[in-house]
Subunit: 234 residues, 2 copies
Amino acid sequence: MKFDVIAFDADDTLWQNETLFAATKDKFKALLNPYCSPETIQEQLDHTEIRNLRYFGYGIKGFTLSMIETAIQLTDGHIRGSEIQKLIEFGKAMLTTPIKLFDHVEQVLTNLARSYTLMLVTKGDLFDQESKLARSGLSRYFTYVEILSEKDATSYRTLLQTYHIPPERFLMVGNSLRSDILPVIEIGARTVYIPYDITWSHENIFPENQGAKGYYECCHIGEVPELLHTLEQC
Amino acid sequence: MKFDVIAFDADDTLWQNETLFAATKDKFKALLNPYCSPETIQEQLDHTEIRNLRYFGYGIKGFTLSMIETAIQLTDGHIRGSEIQKLIEFGKAMLTTPIKLFDHVEQVLTNLARSYTLMLVTKGDLFDQESKLARSGLSRYFTYVEILSEKDATSYRTLLQTYHIPPERFLMVGNSLRSDILPVIEIGARTVYIPYDITWSHENIFPENQGAKGYYECCHIGEVPELLHTLEQC
């Protein structure tokens, strides 16, 4: 085998995540509709989220606090307690909603776990990510689970050192160029990029990746085993 | 050397943590003083925190959301937006407050890092704990940092397997019997218990620990090197 460990990102690689945030943002806009236009709400929420990243990091709890802060700002403090309670309920609903796996995920993990050691490498809130993994029913496929606060070259390097994995024997599968692909290529390991939204990805992909060392691409996770089969024979 | 790794808990072992929550609870009671008695506020906040643990886990963001929810409940939704904004500011202040190390900490870690591999093992919110470690200035002493969502026998067992540490060569230092001591003794490793509050600990310590295999106790962290010196000579 060419690889000691095949690692997978989770959010928007194994299961839907962005759609959950998008749906909650729609509910948020509907709640604040008496006060503001959807465009103003979206703009102010984006602004608050980015400003709060240094306090809260990534995750649903921080997102909920940013919704509350945005609601107070946009209503000049006139938002009612019962409406803020609804925002907390939106957050709790996100934290407990059933996980929607993408097609092929279960079958691909079953297949690969027979030949490889699988690792889950996610970013975000520790409690929330562990809870999602438990609800997904996928934990039995993963020998190792690593939840990082940031996915950059330094954190991947530390990860591989901890597990004594040589970079050339590590393959990372994910949907984010910034978090799953570029830093992993940087440390000399290999990557499979699975765009979550075809349109978005084709607009954002850096053309130089296409031929970059350690960069491969699949349309969906169902194609990963065949790619691995090909790589093993190279 | 008898030990491959000396592990330390962080909150209330290396630096003050509970005092920060206590101080914020006092500010919370002062803010809600026009609506309720301090006793009612404390009781309702405790109740909300415990009920929300399954959604939010441990940490400051969850605590902040629980303060907001408590304030809405206790005021029948009459709390003003500007007051809820203050609660969010309380949370942000907690997340960025300077870390107060206990006496002897820096000197003990400098000393031990010369002979041992040191590991930090904490529980709680990933982003918050990493931020505290960075602000503490102590990260240079720790070869490994592990932030767990729960500290029980299973999570310690997984931790030792990941790092290939035999239990008899692992020593854990901490202030919590429930999180740092009992589960570590359960998996056959050794522990040093440092009560954070002498009175509290003497009331709560289980007498059978005193002679339990793998259980040692120090009054403060400054005593740990001498204890280790003695253990190495046994």
